[in-house]
Symmetry: C2
Subunit: 198 residues, 2 copies
Amino acid sequence: MSTTAAEKRRLILDAAVRVFARQGFHTCRVSDIADEAGVAYGLVYHYFSSKEQMLDTLFLERWDVMLAAIAETDESDRAPREKLHAVASFIIDSYRHDPDVMKVIIVEVTRAANTFGRTHLAKIRDAYDSIAGIVAAGQRSGEFDDAITPQFAAQAFYGSVEQVLTGWIFDAAPVDERAYERAKTMIVELICDGLRRR
Amino acid sequence: MSTTAAEKRRLILDAAVRVFARQGFHTCRVSDIADEAGVAYGLVYHYFSSKEQMLDTLFLERWDVMLAAIAETDESDRAPREKLHAVASFIIDSYRHDPDVMKVIIVEVTRAANTFGRTHLAKIRDAYDSIAGIVAAGQRSGEFDDAITPQFAAQAFYGSVEQVLTGWIFDAAPVDERAYERAKTMIVELICDGLRRR
DNA sequence: TGCGGTTGACTGACTCGTCAATCGAGGGAG
DNA sequence: CTCCCTCGATTGACGAGTCAGTCAACCGCA
């Protein structure tokens, strides 16, 4: 055979991402996913136990990669400001590389954490905590002022990134390549230096 | 009769807000709303043409109030920084006054704008534009540096506010009164001054 | 008596997840 | 080399349940 079981599973999961991104998790049918994958309806249930499990899988798969990337960044010996740039970079590049996955994660998971398992909430908080850790380190080293709590700075930082992605997702504005880099630097500049006149 | 038609409509809409907030728009049933309002199932359809129309109504009702408040703030002759504080204040106080409405707006509308009418998208953009206008005025007057585009600053500002609200919504952390005021000042300080050591 | 407000059983449409049937690659026997 | 057997992969029709929206009947005030 030309495709292994793992490849078939991937095929279906990738189709699910496209369908979730296009129609939304709640409004799409499992048959839409099967059609998109070019596969029989029942086969979806051979590889996944439910529609929701597909969403869980694709979220955890990507989010864990992100958590690992943030952790790795945090362990490097760069300056806090550069660590924040690296984190923003990773998230934005994730979107650049695969907009659909990020769209689904932001629209269907991150913001609907109440209707889904509380597991996801903990994962999301892990990300905040890592970012807050970077800020706290910056405050201890004297690079950052400590008027702002690290937890709050993390929320604002992540919220800014997510809002930028949301703009790209919904406004469907054709984004040229430089826009990604500009967004990264603006986020870091705004969070670190603010709007204050320099 | 003791209740007018308008009051009955309000009764049902308020019940819908509570149910949407508790169970989510997609997972709740119209019968849940009727039960919550203490009203027969069919009566809901006497006042609203569909479940979705209830969501539209409650969003527009509140969002228009917010747009008006932002516009009024913008027309005052306060400093840009204080205008931003006023805007953050209004949004956060909206949550303090009625958490359920803001929860529904953020979770079900703001983030699901693709599945619903494009009308909402335009309304949401109006808010960004107003905030961006405040920032642009600050840049012209020299109070703000213009390294950051107003549009981007608006996204970051609104994103920060929304992320703080999201934290309150999902973490269900008991929020004491001072937390609201602290959040307002931290948002304005972070956006205007950044994390830079002062 | 007339009419707007109100009721809730009912219908029609839809979809998740199941399952019995089928397919086909690989391997063992003749 | 061929036959056929096995077993996991694959199919899609179907059962069971859900729920939005309809509607004919009812109520009670003016």
